[in-house]
Each structure stands twice: as C-alpha cells, then as structure tokens.
C-alpha cells in the first residue's frame, strides 16, 4: 500500500518535472537562437539543417555594428537611451504629484480611476494618425520632444496607476506631521515622501523606461531619420535584401534585449503587480 502510494507520487513528480522541462525548452529556445545567431558565422545562418550547436563563434556581427561604417548602430543606441530616459524622467516627474493627490484626496473618485484605465486600453494606432497630422503642423515629427510626449500617453496612466497603489500604503501621519511642523505640502512631498518611497518610484521609473525602450509604433510613425531607435534598426536590417545583414540583425536584437533583461532581473519581485497594473481589483 505505502510503496504503491510512493510509486504513484514519484511518477507524478517525474511527469510534472518533464512537463516543466519542455516548457523551459520552449520558453528559452528563441532567446538561445537569437543569441547564438548573433555569434555564428554567416555560413551557419543558412545551412540545412540549421546549426543548433555552432562549434565556432565570431564577434564579426557586433564588430560590424560598431567598428565599421556600413551599419553604424551607435546613433540608434543613443536615440533609444535618450528617448527612454527622457520619457522616464518626464513621466515620473508629472505622475508623482498626480498620484499623490489622487490617492490622498481621492480627487475625481472612481471616475478618475476609470479614465486612467481606459487611457491604457486605447489602441495606440487610433492616436497615431491624428498625432502625425498635428505634429506636422507643429514641426514635432522626428523630434525627441514629440516622441516623449507621445510615450507619456500610455506611460502616464501606467505610472499613476502603479504609484497610486504605493501611495495608498504610505502612512499619512508622516505627511501630517511635517505639515504641522510648518512645511508646505509640496515640500513635504519632495523632502519626506519621495525619499521614503524611493524604491517604489525606482520600480515605476524602470517600467516607464522599458515601455519607451520597447516602443515600435510611435517611432515608426512619428519618428524619422534623427530619432530612429534600436527597434527600427532591427526591422531595417532584417528587411534588408542582403543575407549579410542577418547576423547584424541578430546582434542588434541582443543589444535591444540586454537593458530589459538586466532591469527585469532587478524587478523580479515587482513583476506581477507591475504587469497586472498594480493589482487591478479582481
């Protein structure tokens, strides 16, 4: 009796682990493929059957991205960093006071919350075309400012939503105490609340950074020659007619994956709440 029970339990454990292993293989394989492709020699890119475990590696494709002149990835990399960083700073700066007032005074009540969520649901393509026309009149197409503003449409609501959840856990006594001590509310917010909430703010900031970094549709439509990001470089390289651009395309994808990868490792703990919009009530 006991041995049979143990046997079925073992068997079940084996099945579960096998299932998880298959899951891991599927989850990791595309990542593995991109990374190895970026280090493979060009001849291994187009072989039948494909080379799963390349024996020799090369840094050629990365070299082409940086050292040589045909594909210069530096401006693209710079644009990605500048845009994501500006967008992050801008969104966080306007979202902190908004989230503070919305959660502390419940300004606008449920309606404000509904509006924020709906803002997040809008398909970006709806706004892209009219924005393109407006930007044309204001000469904002192909500028950092135009793109940063466009990113804030979707980042702003996300940041406010996340920050509101954090502010709701913040003890109001601390703010009240400093108000009694004679500081203005803004001073209390900047000097007392923000330092204490720094870890949460950093997490929200990183989410904003990533949303900017991963954007495709805005830079595709509102961007131009001077504001091309890494994502655009990937697309251009992969759509290029020559087989020679296959390796650099993979290397660009790896470059593009790196920052999100590192940042997500830091944010593991906040991933679920962040991805589910700070825990929509369910």
């Amino acid at each position: 009796m006991t041995s049979r029970y143990l046997f079925t339990r073992r068997l079940r454990a084996v099945v579960v682990y096998a299932f998880l292993c298959v899951g891991i293989l599927v989850a990791v394989f595309p990542f593995y493929w991109i990374v190895t492709t970026s280090f493979k020699y060009s001849r291994d890119h187009f072989s039948k059957p494909p080379v799963y475990f390349p024996t020799d590696y090369t840094l050629d494709h990365y070299d082409r991205l940086f050292a040589r002149t045909d594909v210069n990835a530096l401006p693209f990399l710079k644009n990605s960093f500048v845009l994501s960083t500006f967008n992050m700073v801008f969104v966080v700066a306007i979202s902190i006071p908004a989230a503070y007032a919305l959660s502390r005074y419940r300004l606008g009540g449920d309606k404000a919350r509904f509006a924020i969520l709906t803002g997040r649901m809008l398909p970006p393509v709806i706004l892209v075309l009219p924005l393109f026309l407006i930007y044309r009149n204001l000469n904002l197409n192909n500028t950092y400012l135009g793109l940063v503003l466009a990113y804030s449409i979707f980042n702003g609501p996300l940041a406010v939503w996340l920050l509101m959840a954090f502010f709701e856990d913040f003890p109001t006594e601390i703010i009240d105490a400093s108000l009694v001590d004679g500081s203005t509310e803004l001073q209390a917010l900047v000097r007392i609340v923000m330092p204490l909430m720094a870890p949460s703010i950093v997490v929200v900031a990183l989410f904003c950074f990533l949303t900017g970094w991963n954007d495709l549709i805005f830079v595709l439509t509102l961007g131009g020659r001077e504001t091309q990001t890494l994502n655009m470089l990937m697309v251009n390289l992969l759509n290029a007619p020559s087989n020679e651009s296959f390796g650099p395309a993979a290397a660009t994808v790896v470059l593009g994956i790196l920052p999100p990868f590192v940042l997500t490792l830091f944010m593991q703990r906040y991933l679920v709440s962040g991805l589910s919009l700070g825990g929509v009530k369910g």
Partner: protein, 307 residues
C-alpha cells in the same frame, strides 16, 4: 528640520479660491498633457473624418458622411476584425490552458521552483519587437529551426511550411509568437494567485478524503477566479490592439489575410496616406474599444458587488 511657524494670514488669491485649491494643481500637469494628447487628436480625427483627404496628393474635399458609409461597408475592415477575433479566441485558449498547467506544475513542486519560474519567464523580459525578430528567424521556411523540429517530431527531416507566405499558416505564426510571449505572464499571475490560497483549505479537504481533481475543481479554481479574470482582461486588451507582431512578422500578408484592425488603420492612414478614411476607421476602433472597456467595467463592478 522641525520648525514652528505662526499660521499665515489669508492673502490675495487665497480669499477668492476655494479651500484646498492647491490640491488640484498636483494632477494638473499630467491631466493637461493627457487631455492635449488624447482629446485633441480625437477632435482632429473627427474633423478630418468628414473630408476626402490624401496627404500625398494634397487633396482635401468635404464629403460629409461618405467616409462613415464606406467604413460600414468596408469588407477589408470586417475581415480585419475577423482576424482579430480568431487570434483572440485561439491565443486566449492556448495561453490560459498552458499558463494554468504550468502554474499548477510550478506550484506542486518543492525543489527548484525559483529557478524554474525564472527560466519560464524569460519571454517576459524580451520586448515584442525582439520576439517578432526571433520568430522571423526561427520560422524561416528553409533555414529556420522550427520546420526541422516539427519534422523531427513527425519522424521526417523537414516539413515545408511557409509560415509567412502561406495564407493558411500565416495567422498561426502570429498566434504562436503571441502565445509564446504572453503565456509566462498569465502563468505568473495565476501562480501568484495559487500561492495566496490558504493551505489549510487543502489540508481540511484532504482530511475529508478529497482527491487532487476535487481539490483543484472545488478549491483552486474558484479561488483563482480573480487572478484569472485580471489576466484575461489584460490579455484581451493587448490582443485587440495587436499591431507590432503583425508589422514584424507578416505585414498583414499574404493577400491581407493577417491584417488586424490596428494594422489596417495604420495601412490606410500611414502607408497610403488616405487620411480622411484612416481617421474614420480609427474612430470606429475607438468606439469599439470604449464599448468593450465599458462592458468589462460593468462586469467587474457586478463581480465585486457579488463578492
């Protein structure tokens, strides 16, 4: 530093404005920017929807409601909606079946859970664009590994599936890439839900002689309703908006069979620069999204009222 001050006298503006008026200044910058960037474009869209306006040809002619009439009859838009619906149904079923199974598997194991979860969630760390790029390479008909792997599983060398060029397969390339990208997200939310369930419930049910299927059906599943609903909502929203993967993988082709609504609007407005019609279509999409958001909010509210 703490510091005592005498309460200040009310001066100037303070006498006129309502008490606590400063509170409204805090959200003001964000609200103004959002209003400018959402309401202004929508107003623009409404205005141009009454015009026949080609950006490249510089034609702009008032045509009243013709764009709306056209949009109602537009077969391609209807077909795009149908593509969205098919992708949504298949992806959601696949994501939630696999996500739930993986979450349960992760929950049931004792050793190595942290590492396994970290490996399973690798796709989350990769952007949609990079996902698209990866699948472009993996699904290359002759040189990509996917056709060889499927071939191996079927006991052959290779299968000849043209993932992006075959009208029957192209939509599956979108589904596969999107499920791969989103499934770990569903799994994470469900796993968090499972971990939050009180262990004593299981213990008590086990003492009463419940088998593992009963434990799942009568304890896990009812208590997972919340997380399931949240994940469902968020995935549905993402899939309705679907654009990036279509742009990266199939460009709507072949013969427009994989055009989603978002992609079609982009195509009309920003490829052909048929602006008047493009904004009309985007208004349709807007109304559709709002109706859906509203319906979902109503369901959420009712759920909360019941709970």
């Amino acid at each position: 530093m703490a510091q005592l001050t005498v309460p200040r006298e009310k001066t100037g503006w303070q006498r006129v404005l309502p008490r606590h008026w400063t509170r409204y200044l805090y959200p003001a910058p964000l609200m103004i920017i959002l209003a400018a960037l959402i309401i202004f474009p929508i107003a623009y869209a409404i205005r141009y929807s009454f015009y026949d306006y080609y950006l490249t040809r510089g034609i702009m002619r008032f045509i009243g409601l013709k764009n709306y009439a056209d949009a109602f009859r537009d077969e391609v838009f209807r077909q795009a909606a149908w593509v969205n619906i098919r992708i949504i149904v298949v992806s959601l079923i696949a994501e939630f079946t696999l996500g739930l199974l993986l979450a349960l598997a992760c929950y049931s194991i004792k050793r190595g859970r942290a590492v396994i979860v970290a490996l399973l969630t690798v796709p989350i760390m990769i952007s949609t664009s990079a996902t698209g790029m990866a699948f472009r390479m993996i699904m290359l008909p002759e040189y990509g590994p996917l056709n060889y792997i499927i071939g191996k599983l079927l006991g052959r060398d290779w299968v000849a599936i043209d993932w992006f060029g075959d009208r029957n397969w192209a939509i599956w390339s979108l589904v596969i890439a999107s499920v791969w990208h989103a499934m770990p997200f569903v799994m994470l939310i469900l796993l968090a839900g499972l971990v939050a369930i009180n262990q004593e419930l299981y213990e008590a049910a086990k003492i009463d002689g419940a088998g593992s299927w009963r434990l799942f059906r009568d304890i896990s599943l009812p208590l997972l309703k919340g997380p399931l609903f949240v994940a469902f909502l968020l995935r549905l929203i993402e899939l309705i908006k679907m654009f990036d993967l279509v742009y990266l993988l199939t460009q709507g082709g072949p013969a427009r069979v994989t055009e989603t609504m978002s992609f079609y609007v982009y195509y009309v407005g920003l490829r052909f620069f048929r602006v008047g019609y493009g904004v009309t279509l985007s208004l349709f999409l807007l109304v559709l999204t709002f109706a859906l958001a509203f319906a979902l909010m109503q369901i959420t509210r009712r759920r909360e009222a019941v709970a």
